[in-house]
């Protein structure tokens, strides 16, 4: 009897199906928790969607009329449709970085310790945070895309093209989730982290083709444009969603975005691993 008892305890000591099972349960539990938190806090939703909606309504509608009369500007679609991909990327970027900050909040207030003493791999904490951040980014980007479709009316209703564009949004957002995870693993508090979001947000939009064609820009901004992953994400999705003329080309857009994603996620992973190894520092 005693042996049977001890044996069942021994079995209980070993994770079912090895570490993969623990990883999967951990990611699921964290994803669920973060999504529940997201739904229960209107702050995060309005914080992310507020700015893009302002861009669409005020900047988009105001410029719409003016730009349509500027024959010299080489834009083949209406201006609202033209800026929608850029505003979608802005939304995805803010959502990804805010979603990544969940990790920082949980680190700062100690919630992360609950996960660290649970029988799940440390990696589950990172992947759980990343998956919830991506989910939030996609949901909110889709809302802005829908808004662009309604206001501009130029959306290409090919489901595959829409989905392909959303996949590109995910790849783009993943890169920033990686950066967010790295910052969240390093940052000492929330204040510094939020000033970084500000640094990312608008400058990345201004130094890209989100609001104007690259061809119209002075040389030094052009250089910044080509260094900015936003340019490639906008170029690809503008083509897919609205049939806009490509300035870079899908064959360059996609590899650049993939490399961006892989490098940033790896960077986030490395930094997170270091912070977990030395939780006191």
């Amino acid at each position: 009897m005693a042996t049977v008892l001890e044996r069942s305890r021994l079995v209980a000591a070993q994770p079912k199906g090895g570490n993969w099972n623990g990883l999967w349960t951990g990611v699921q539990a964290l994803w669920l928790k973060h999504m529940l938190k997201f739904v229960s806090s209107s702050m995060e939703i309005t914080g992310t969607l507020g700015l893009p909606i302002l861009w669409m309504f005020f900047f988009g509608l105001a410029m719409h009329g003016m730009v349509s009369q500027m024959k010299t500007m080489n834009i083949n679609i209406d201006y609202l449709s033209y800026i929608t991909p850029g505003v979608v990327m802005l939304t995805a970027l803010s959502a990804a970085i805010l979603g990544g900050s969940t990790l920082l909040m949980e680190r700062v207030n100690g919630v992360i310790k609950e996960y660290m003493v649970a029988p799940i791999p440390r990696l589950a904490v990172l992947l759980g945070t990343m998956s919830s951040a991506i989910t939030k980014a996609v949901l909110q980007s889709a809302i802005i895309l829908a808004l662009g479709a309604v206001l501009g009316g130029g959306l290409n209703w090919n489901v595959l093209a829409i989905l392909a564009g959303l996949v590109i949004t995910v790849v783009y957002a993943m890169g920033f989730v990686g950066i967010a995870a790295a910052l969240a693993s390093k940052a000492k508090g929330m204040e510094g982290y939020h000033s970084i979001i500000m640094i990312f947000n608008l400058p990345l939009m201004f130094t890209s083709n989100a609001l104007y064609p690259i061809a119209e820009l002075p040389a030094f901004i052009k250089v910044l444009c080509y260094l900015n992953p936003t340019t490639y994400a906008v170029d690809a999705t503008r083509q897919l969603w609205f049939g806009g003329t490509s300035e870079v080309g899908m064959l360059i857009d996609l590899p650049v975005l993939l490399v961006f994603m892989v490098v940033c996620v790896w960077f986030g992973y490395r930094t997170f691993q270091q912070s977990v190894a030395n939780p006191a520092s």
Partner: protein, 335 residues
Amino acid sequence: MAVLSENKAVGQANALRLSEWAIETSGLARTFGTVQAVKGVNLKVERGSIYALLGPNGAGKTTTINMLTTLIRPTDGWARVAGWDVVKQSDAVRRHIGVTFQETVLDKNLSGRVALDIHGRLYQMPRAESKARIKELVELVELEEAIDRPTKTYSGGMKRRLELVRGLMTRPEILFLDEPTQGLDPQNRERIWLYIQQMRREQGLTILLTTHDMDEAEKLADKVSIIDGGLIVAEGTPATLIGAMGADVVSVQGVAGGPAPAFVTALLATSFVEWAEAHSDENSVSVGLKQQAGRSLKPIVDLAERCGYEVADIAISRPNLNDVFLKYTGRRLRD
């Protein structure tokens, strides 16, 4: 054949596992940069007991708990929790412990039920079992009314109760409580003590708690370790630790600059003094007696006069853990 080898493996694992101690450590140490937070702790905690690590803030209590709960790795020594090594078998350790941290770690927008449910999910608890367990635990700590409200609406005591049962959610063998009643009013504190005693009784738990509260250690613990400067300086049941202090303790309050060391030396030379210690920061001398204080007061005052130690006040007390702490660390334990 496969069954045989499996049995052999189980047998070997059991041999490793069947340690008589719930927690056992040897030379457990942790250094942060140049700071030695824990300098070699040897602990043996009996199964089913409540064990208290008593010490001031910064003594190394939390660092010790963090090592035992696999949050951080020791830089030296080893520790076995529930029979498993905290470094090599950390996953098994995690499966058998529950932890309540010093600071409140609850998400304020989520309800108490969600907090417990997510905790169950992290441990792969089957859904039905998790539901039943939540019901049982919520009744235990009387949170039925509040359990579906966001935790931001909870009082400090309610949050503590919720965290206490979260640590119990997965039926751990060993529960770690880091300062379980810190910041609570006396009423809530006593309530938590009742729950802890009840939990031990009903669930056969081993509980390791840290505290800097003498009453808490004295009321709850079967065994107490006094930890100071990263080392355990005394260990025993509260009764033996206090019993070893002698019959009564007399505090002699002097005036500033009095010759306390000479007074202490003179006291130690008498037949009725068990121990004596000067506390220069308070201008006082504590005297542990072998006999009742009534018969010793006059000799003590006479002795003080002869040594030129001016007496401002005298107080007699039955020794308590505070005096034990004072004796071993030379300091008083303050909040």
